[in-house]
């Protein structure tokens, strides 16, 4: 609870700092505030308190994911100073809305009641509609925000209808009451409960960007300002998959028979289509959009292979994925700054002129592919072996084929950076920015070498 209060107060303070024209205080203030929120989150470890009649449940699952979300946002704000350098105005509105989006994400993975899930999803989404359109002068940003808004609120309607139907069947919004209802059913499912369940899956699948509800993602990612795309690809994805996992693990894991096959098909489609379409993308930003779609397919494996370890594996997976993705976006925005676009040809010769940036990008790409000894490899290895243990051999085979295909696009920027001749153009990277990039890269390597800092043995 203290995390939520801290984030809300931080957002309001940021607005006031903007009104008082203290531009130079904004980002340091936010970074300190986020660090405080992270500390407050971790102090609650093992306390397992719930608030307001189990509306919010701050168990270790929620705290761990909240820590990942806040850490990802912290990394993104580290890059914000350089990204927004050319903008004159204080930008307190963008920062505040980002913090409120983070607040929605925090609500989404600590809910104990479907009302709170809906409020979290909407707090996150409404803030994101604003963020997607925050570059008002660019037509692509306008278009991205309108598409995202219309589709997002359309699908929110489905999520809401699903919640209403489940309420009608289970007589409660509370996850534990629904769990009691499910365990008392003995295999006879009322049709409105089934309909409600599938509508909720559709609603959350849209937010995570799972095939076939992914079609908005590449367009919106491309039009949104790059720094905020990093936020969408990391924080939003982590929060939505954590929300889906919490729903299934608390109240539906006794009823695998009814949703197992549909999630299986969604995961297989996501892995195959996400990776294959990723091969045909001309630019790094669109490639990362498809990468994020494909990665969410692997994350579904953790939901399917439910065991005492799967929450921990999902946490590790989202953490390694988020850090690598934010690093990659951090370099894409540098390239865009100098070249004006992020086509793969824009990366040519980067390895010679900007060795540090090229190194960080390579590590991020290798981690996303799943090459040892990086974090992505450990995450995939444990996730896949757990899934095989739970009997999902075919799905894991599909996932391994998908990972092999993904080499085809993850290596495109790497090949361009090291093997193609460039025109000798240098990126304008400040020293501090380089340090932040190296920090994220070192975290990726450390998580790969010493995974048991986060992963249970």
């Amino acid at each position: 609870m203290s995390t939520i209060i801290a984030l809300a107060v931080l957002g309001i303070i940021t607005l006031f700092l903007g009104v008082m024209k203290k531009k130079s205080w904004l980002l340091p203030g936010i970074l300190v505030g986020l660090a405080v929120a992270l500390g407050l989150t971790l102090t609650g470890w093992n306390t397992d308190i719930s608030f307001y009649h189990r509306m919010l449940v701050m168990d270790n699952y929620a705290l761990a994911f909240n820590a990942v979300l806040i850490f990802s946002t912290f990394l993104i704000f580290l890059f914000a100073h350089h990204y927004y350098q050319p903008v004159e105005r204080p930008l307190e509105d963008v920062y505040t809305v980002t913090l409120f989006a983070l607040l929605g994400a925090v609500l989404m993975d600590s809910y104990g009641n479907l009302i709170m899930l809906f409020l979290g999803v909407e707090t996150l989404s409404i803030a994101l509609y604003i963020l997607a359109g925050s570059h008002r002068e660019a037509i692509s940003s306008n278009e991205a925000t309108l598409k995202y808004f219309l589709l997002g609120s359309f699908i929110s309607g489905f999520l809401l209808f699903g919640i209403a139907l489940i309420y009608g069947a289970a007589h409660s919004f509370d996850l534990q009451d629904i769990a009691h209802f499910v365990s008392a059913l003995n295999g006879e499912w009322p049709p409105i409960f089934l309909a409600g369940l599938f509508l909720i899956i559709i609603g959350l699948a849209f937010k995570i960007a799972i095939v076939p509800f992914h079609f908005w993602a590449p367009d919106v990612y491309e039009g949104t300002p790059t720094l905020l795309t990093a936020f969408m690809a990391s924080v939003v994805k982590t929060a939505s998959i954590a929300a889906l996992y919490r729903l299934f693990s608390t109240c539906l894991h006794g009823a695998q028979g009814i949703w197992e096959s549909s999630l299986w098909i969604l995961a297989a489609l996501t892995i195959l289509l996400g990776n294959l379409t990723g091969l045909y993308q001309p630019s790094a930003k669109r490639m990362l959009a498809y990468s994020s779609i494909a990665q969410s397919g692997y994350m579904i494996l953790a939901v399917l292979a439910f065991s005492s370890r799967s929450a921990n594996l999902l946490l590790f997976y989202t953490l390694s994925y988020s850090i690598a993705t934010i690093t990659a976006f951090g370099i894409v925005l540098l390239v865009r700054e100098v070249r004006g676009n992020d086509l793969f040809t824009a990366f040519n010769g980067l390895g010679k002129n900007n060795p540090v940036e090229a190194f960080c990008m390579t590590v991020a790409m290798l981690s996303l592919t799943g090459i040892p000894p990086l974090a992505g490899f450990v995450a995939k290895f444990y996730l896949f072996s757990t899934a095989i243990g739970a009997g999902y051999l075919w799905l894991v085979l599909i996932a391994i084929v998908g990972s092999a295909v993904s080499v085809g696009y993850y290596f495109k920027p790497v090949i361009a950076m090291y093997l193609r001749e460039g025109d000798g153009m240098k990126l304008k990277t400040p020293k501090s920015y380089k340090a932040f990039l190296l920090f994220a890269t070192i975290v990726t390597i450390l998580l790969g070498v010493l995974p048991f800092m986060v992963l249970k043995q």
């Binding site: 309108l146 609120s153 809401l160 009608g168 007589h171 367009d219």
Partner: protein, 106 residues
């Protein structure tokens, strides 16, 4: 009051709200005008409000009606942001027809 509502069986409410919801969905899929799409989405959300209120009466549980208030607040926030976005689009393109939005590949 509750008895008057209970004269109509719950299945009727369910059917009525599903049909309203369906009309909203069809409106979103068929119409090309951003404002009309926004109105269709509002129709979807209001059909859900009605359903929740009906369930809440039949189950004798106030949580459903409380949720309706939350939904109203969220829908109002959504419309505020949505109208602002539509104004933004109108300023740059001078139309609110969603077919002009083809700069990004769909």
């Amino acid at each position: 009051m509750t008895e008057t509502l209970m004269v109509i069986p719950i299945l009727h409410y369910l059917t009525f709200c599903s049909v309203l919801f369906g009309i909203g969905v069809i409106g979103v899929l068929v119409k090309r005008n951003a404002l009309v799409i926004l109105m269709s989405i509002e129709l979807m959300i209001n059909s859900i409000n009605l359903l929740l209120a009906a369930f809440s009466t039949y189950l004798n549980d106030p949580a459903g009606q409380i949720f309706v208030f939350f939904i109203m607040v969220v829908a109002a926030a959504e419309v505020a942001v949505g109208l602002a976005i539509i104004v933004l689009i109108f300023r740059t393109t001078h139309t609110i027809d969603i077919d002009v939005l083809n700069k990004l590949k769909w």
